[in-house]
């Protein structure tokens, strides 16, 4: 990871004054275990070029990281690419240039624009070339991008995933460096630390004067601060400062505290109850499903004990536990991650004084759990389509023949309805192993239905002629019980 600062023209030598580094000496410092070096390749009256590079310790870099047991940890681009880490390493080497507090005699150069060529890299960014250009062009730079070499003995990738950026433009050194310290992390889209007050401060300070009018301001904020609540804090601070100028950077907030303590995630969409392609209708559909199931359960005679199988984060289980006449809801889920969220949700219910709170249970449809026998209701809400079809028959056999609930409620997507969504993929969710038409689901239910059960097919959601409703629901009821009543 390196940065080359080059200036040409009659005043070029002044850049070395601003950098406050003697061209005849080597700069070689240890910044918390990272070796930071600076050397001039040339320093004449009309040509100055300084090369600044950092060498992190590859072994140290991965220490204490939460995924330190990831095999790829030592094979890590953090050691090479420019990132927020790089910015941290070089900040003190560039201290004088950044704060402009140089010797009296050089002060006029602080506000002087030089014709700069700034080169840095490698960059690992998921932003397309056009966006990278749009990040720098509004700031007065000409942008040149260069790709790494990706020449392999077998078919692997069409081009390299690293780039090298060269910027040319007339700006002050201070401004150029401040822009880089903000925009390099924006390019990189990876943070090595929590987003907090420090980031807000940095953005406010270094972004002053150029960030506000930037056409991609929103993108820059989002990629710098990531979380909407932190972005909101930042905006609030700007408004406050506008009202209270002159600005006092130390406004009394604790710079060390993290905005909300939420750790950085890698931005991967969470596998959850929401299919990916139908964002708008989906949220409503989930709600409709919960309503439909809750209403159905409310109307049952036997509903004291309920099992929500594959309960995920526990939304439906929470609903069901508030139904009058329900005494027990077992929220059965194999995923520890989902269950943690469910537990938080249930704890809140308890705090709010709800009488019946779901019980989280680690469980799985592929095992037999004797504690689930003989319950009044078992719900499989949007669960079966996540199971490979060959495994499903056995699962349903266990539920209907071993657990034998009074009522079994099964919901699953109606594939016919997908036409309404104009989807660009074959199924509503990456993890769906199948999606069935109404006919296919009805056939399957008929196959699963064992002695003593009747089954009734229903739909949930807005109906479209010929396509049915987005969600289909099967309700299995135990016949003997009915006859007894």
């Amino acid at each position: 990871m390196h940065l080359i600062i080059r200036a040409e023209g009659t005043d070029a030598r002044a850049v070395s004054y601003l950098l406050a580094k003697n061209p005849n000496n080597l700069y070689d410092r240890d910044e918390k275990g990272v070796r930071v070096r600076l050397v001039y390749t040339v320093c004449t009256d009309d040509e100055v070029e300084a090369v600044l590079y950092a060498t992190p310790d590859p072994v140290d870099l991965v220490k204490g990281s939460p995924d330190s047991y990831d095999i790829t940890q030592y094979i890590n681009d953090r050691e090479f690419v420019v990132s927020s880490l790089f910015c941290t390493y070089i900040r003190s080497a560039l201290g004088t240039a950044l704060n402009g507090k140089t010797k009296e005699e050089y002060l006029p150069w602080v506000t002087h624009s030089f014709p700069f060529t700034l080169s840095f890299g490698p960059v690992a960014s998921n932003l397309p070339d056009a966006i990278v250009e749009q990040l720098f062009e509004p700031l007065g730079y000409k942008v040149e991008l260069e790709r790494g070499v990706a020449d392999y003995s077998f078919e692997l990738k069409s081009r390299s995933s690293v780039r090298y950026v060269t910027l040319r433009g007339e700006v002050t050194l201070q401004q150029a460096l401040r822009q880089l310290l903000i925009l390099i992390p924006v390019l990189d889209d990876y943070k090595h630390h929590y987003v907090g007050q420090d980031e807000i401060d940095k953005l406010a300070r270094y972004g002053e004067g150029w960030l506000d009018p930037h056409p991609l301001r929103e993108l820059i904020l989002k990629r710098s601060l990531r979380f909407s609540n932190i972005i909101a804090q930042f905006e609030a601070r700007l408004r406050r400062e506008a009202a209270l100028s002159p600005v006092n950077a130390d406004d009394g907030t604790d710079g060390q505290s993290m905005a909300d303590g939420e750790p950085q995630t890698d931005g991967e969409p969470r596998m959850g109850e929401e299919p990916q392609t139908e964002e708008q209708p989906k949220i409503r559909l989930n709600e409709l499903r919960y309503q439909a199931i809750t209403n159905l359960v409310s109307g049952l005679d036997a509903k004291r004990t309920i099992v929500d199988y594959g309960s995920g984060e526990g939304k439906l289980a929470a609903r069901l536990s508030s139904v009058e006449g329900v005494a027990e809801v077992l929220a059965v889920e194999p995923s520890a991650m989902s269950q943690l969220r469910a537990i938080e949700r249930f704890d809140k219910l308890a705090d709010h004084g709800q009488k019946v709170v779901p019980t989280p249970v680690t469980g799985s449809l592929f095992y037999y759990d004797e504690t689930l026998r003989g319950k009044d209701v078992i719900v499989l809400c949007e669960v079966i389509e996540h199971i490979d079809a060959p495994r499903l028959n056995k699962v349903m056999d266990t539920v209907l023949n071993e657990y034998r609930p009074q009522t079994l409620i099964v919901t699953t997507p109606n594939r016919e309805y997908n036409a309404v969504y104009e989807m660009d993929q074959s199924m509503r969710h990456n993890d769906h192993r199948f999606e069935w038409t109404r006919g296919e689901f009805a056939d399957a239910c008929d196959r699963w239905r064992t002695s003593g059960y009747t089954v009734e097919m229903q739909g949930i959601g807005e109906e479209v002629a010929g396509l049915g409703q987005p969600t289909q629901m099967a309700v299995f009821s135990r016949r003997e019980e009915r006859e007894q009543r």
Binding site: V39, T41, Y69, G121
Partner: protein
């Protein structure tokens, strides 16, 4: 009167605790000295409080009488403290001796119930008999003897003790002793003392034939003992010409058709010394019924009553009553278990429903109950006892043979064998021959039980049922043949269940998770992190003479199950299938279509080359590496390895140009340039390293499967073979199909072949290959009783760049990396190795899916316990 035979005889137990009781001077020590002299007791079996007072306090007695009060107080206090410690020490010794099944005779006054109580409790805790021998001596005699002593206890104390003796001796019989002997002083010379031998110990002699639960299946029993070589003699006894004896694990009656006849058989044979039979749950129930207790008969016991009624009808009630008496006596006397010895060493233990190690050779009510019913853990919803796995904890080395709990096949687990194959339920009657260690069995003519809950049918029905979650989820243990008990913790089991619920192939197809493999200790050579020398040294230190070094492929691990045809899968997994190919974490290796093609091709090739016929098998299970690496790992390679290589090359190339410019401009950056050049070379090496393992594939074209472990054929595993056999078999497979490839290997037997293998490794790894795997000659190898590492991987210097990063060989980095720890990895490797073999064994035995899955799930659970993945 003085005739030897008519002298009253006191029989002391073979083990346990004997309390002597009596005031000072009553002759306890004298009696014991006599018994030692007569050889009835060993001197070491006698423990006395005096002996321990000496041991802890150097003196038997402290006399405080006649001292000034303040001195007397101190001396008395000393005496009390010494006593307290002496008794504590004595109790410890008694507990230890008892635990080892020894007899201890305690020589002390034991005049107060509390003194005796603690020994009674101790004996009960140890499941040992406790006996009291009280010496009743007249007060005058006591006083006289005391007066003659060197250190008399004094009149007052003697009188007091004599008085206490009289008072306490009356209630002695109610205190819980197994025997109480109150001996008058005058009687002593006329009494004979003897030791009982342990009634549970029997000699194996020419051999024993242990028969499983018969349950009145007379015809099958007669057929079986005929097969075993027993012939009927004159008195209706079946005797073996070589003098072998029959042993029944009990439950000879009930449920089946001819209980009375079968019971008679065993009663006569046991009485004649031609057979043994242990107690059992049905036996005990019937015994109490026959002796007139009020018991309700069920679970087939009622059929004995029916037979008895018929007997009475046919032969009159007198005959029936006689029979009743004889049988009840026989059954009530049946020992809880039997221990068969050879050269005085315990070899085989026979117990109906099992036994705990510490109970072997002992008798108590508690042990009898355990041997009858096993380790029950309450009752299930249907009222049937839930059985705990007592055999998991067996580690004293004897072979325990038991019945009680019907299994389809004799179940050999952890040096225990279940031989109840449910003949009465239409299964088989099994005999286990010792010392031959052979099974002989007879198929039942039919299901006699007419029970609704036929355990064999239930087992068959449940074989493919989903595993019982509650038994697993909070952590559990698997008893493996190779390692013994392997325990896994709940937190990791939960993670594994999560994996199985979301990602793996169906549970019944998930047979085996390949064990992790450790590298050897770090190299002593400063240029290397890993080197074959350390692997060879490890095996030599474990007593392994011959090793096999196999080329390690860099691809993706895969477990392949290939059935002869789709129908062949049904007996194994319950539905038709061509087979499956899954990764080391249990996920499907290929997308559906591709898997179908690969399996189809393999099936066809194996059939064409008549592989299935040649080995008379309908299934082939392989542990293999599938190449190339990019087949499975393309995304990872592109996003991680290639990406990092590109970044490093770009960074280091550009930088080096600039540093050279700086040098040309007169800056002193010679060192920086040298470092830069070295690191650029590292980046180039790194960029090349992974490309060795990648090439383009087009459908099946270019896909290579290098199998290195032949895991199973139908009904057969190969864990007792050598790795040379496995390698040669893989070569044979490569001859059958283009998809298979053989693997290069070397056999190491001496220093020369070791050097040759090292040269081979060095050359191979310098051209970029991953490295070698060093294995002991035999698949499953032990050093003494301990399993040795099944394999150690030795990776090449070049390859390790992609594991430890491109600059790992920088001296400072290497030094730190050499501090790596492999202990946990090695431990996991052994556990997973044992679990892997156990799972496959259970699979080929067509054990239940649950029994197979508990092995697989445990291996997955161990894999969720984090270990440094670079190892």
């Amino acid at each position: 009167m003085m005739n030897e035979d008519t002298r009253r005889t006191i029989r002391l137990p073979h083990a346990g605790i004997v309390l002597l009781m009596g005031p000072s001077n009553s002759g306890k020590s004298t009696l014991l000295a006599r018994l030692v002299e007569e050889g009835v007791l060993l001197q070491t079996e006698v423990v006395s409080s005096d002996q321990f007072r000496m041991l802890v306090g150097d003196d038997v007695y402290i006399d405080w009488r006649g001292r000034p009060k303040h001195e007397a107080d101190i001396l008395y206090n000393d005496y009390q403290r010494i006593s307290e410690q002496a008794f504590a020490a004595m109790e410890t010794i008694l507990r230890m001796r008892g635990g080892l099944g020894k007899l201890s005779v305690v020589d002390a006054t034991h005049l107060y119930p509390d003194d005796r109580r603690k020994y009674i409790d101790l004996a009960h805790r140890l499941d040992l008999p406790v006996v009291v021998v009280a010496l009743d001596v007249p007060e005058e005699a006591l006083l006289k003897r005391d007066a003659g002593r060197a250190e008399p206890r004094g009149k007052q104390r003697v009188k007091q003790q004599a008085h206490q003796f009289k008072r306490t001796v009356r209630g002695l019989k109610e205190e819980g002793f197994d025997s109480v002997y109150i001996l008058k002083d005058a009687q002593l010379p006329e009494l004979r003392f003897e030791r009982r031998s342990n009634p549970l110990l029997k000699e194996i002699g020419p051999g024993i034939d242990i028969i499983g639960d018969i349950h009145g299946c007379w015809d099958e029993m007669i057929e079986l003992i005929g097969k075993l070589g027993y012939v009927p003699g004159e008195e209706g006894l079946y005797l073996h010409p070589e003098g072998r004896k029959l042993v029944s694990v009990g439950d000879v009656m009930s449920r089946g058709p001819q209980s009375i006849r079968t019971m008679m058989f065993w009663q006569q044979h046991v009485e004649a010394g031609a057979a043994y039979m242990v107690d059992s749950n049905h036996g005990w129930k019937i015994a109490r019924y026959l002796s007139g207790r009020d018991v309700s008969l069920s679970h087939g016991d009622e059929r004995v009553a029916d037979e008895l009624a018929q007997l009475a009808q046919e032969h009159g009630s007198e005959a029936a009553s006689q029979w009743r008496q004889r049988m009840s006596h026989f059954l009530l006397e049946a020992p809880s278990h039997l221990v068969f010895t050879k050269n005085g060493v315990r070899h085989v233990v026979v117990a109906h429903a099992g036994i705990r190690d510490e109970a072997i050779g002992k008798q108590s009510k508690r042990i009898s109950d355990f041997c009858r019913y096993g380790d029950t853990d309450g009752f299930d919803a249907a009222g049937k006892p839930v059985r705990k796995e007592w055999y998991a904890h067996h580690n004293t080395g004897e072979l325990i043979v038991w019945g009680h709990d019907p299994r389809v096949q004799p179940a050999v687990v952890n040096h225990t064998i279940n031989i109840d194959q449910g003949v009465v339920f239409g299964g088989q009657l099994t005999a286990y021959r010792y010392p031959e260690k052979a099974f002989v069995s007879v198929q039942a003519a039919r299901d006699y039980s007419e029970a609704a809950d036929n355990p064999l049918k239930e087992w068959a029905r449940r074989r493919f049922s989903p595993p019982n979650l509650r038994r697993l989820i909070e952590g559990y243990s698997v008893v493996t043949d190779s390692y013994g008990e392997v325990e896994v913790r709940g937190e990791f089991v939960k993670a594994a269940i999560d994996t199985v619920s979301h990602f793996t192939v169906p549970i019944e197809e998930l047979l085996y998770i390949p064990p992790t493999m450790s590298p050897p200790a770090v190299s002593e050579d400063e240029a290397y992190l890993e080197h074959p020398r350390e692997a060879f040294a490890y095996y030599r230190a474990q007593g392994v003479q011959t090793m096999v070094a196999e080329k390690k492929h860099m691809g993706s691990r895969a477990i392949l199950t290939i059935y002869k045809d789709e129908a062949a899968a049904i007996p194994y997994i319950g539905y038709p299938s061509a087979g499956s190919i899954y990764t080391r974490t249990g996920r499907a290796f290929f997308p559906n279509q591709m898997e179908h093609k690969v399996l189809g091709q393999l099936q066809q090739d194996l059939r064409t080359s008549e592989y299935f016929e040649r080995y008379d098998t309908d299934i082939l299970v392989l542990d293999a590496e599938i190449l190339p690496w990019n087949l499975k790992a393309k995304e990872l390679i592109a996003a991680q390895y290639a990406h990092v290589a590109e970044a490093a090359m770009l960074d280091r190339t550009k930088l080096l140009v600039k540093l050279k410019e700086a040098q040309a401009a007169g800056r002193e950056v010679g060192d920086w340039i040298e470092e830069g050049e070295r690191k650029l070379a590292n980046a180039e090496t790194f960029g090349q390293a992974f490309q060795y393992y990648c090439w383009d594939v087009d459908e099946l074209e270019g896909v290579r499967i290098a199998s290195f472990h032949i895991l199973a054929h139908g009904g057969e595993t190969f864990f007792d073979r050598t790795h040379v056999w496995h390698m040669e078999h893989a070569r044979e497979l490569a001859g059958c199909s283009k998809l298979f490839m053989e693997t290069e290997y070397r056999v190491i037997t001496d220093a020369a072949s070791e050097e040759e293998a090292i040269a081979w490794w060095a050359e191979m790894t310098e051209t970029g290959h991953e490295g070698i795997v060093v294995k002991p000659e035999f698949y499953r190898t032990r050093n003494g009783s301990k399993l040795v590492q099944p394999a150690l991987k030795v990776r090449g210097r070049r390859y390790l760049h992609i594991i430890y990063g491109m600059d790992y060989l920088e001296p400072d980095n290497l030094k730190r990396l050499k501090q790596r720890k492999t202990r946990k990895k090695e431990k996991h490797a052994l556990l997973e190795f044992a679990l892997g073999m156990e799972g496959i064994e259970r699979f080929v035995r067509k054990d239940s899916v649950e029994r197979m899955h508990e092995c697989v799930l445990a291996a997955l659970a161990l894999e969720s316990d984090p270990v440094d993945p670079r190892l």
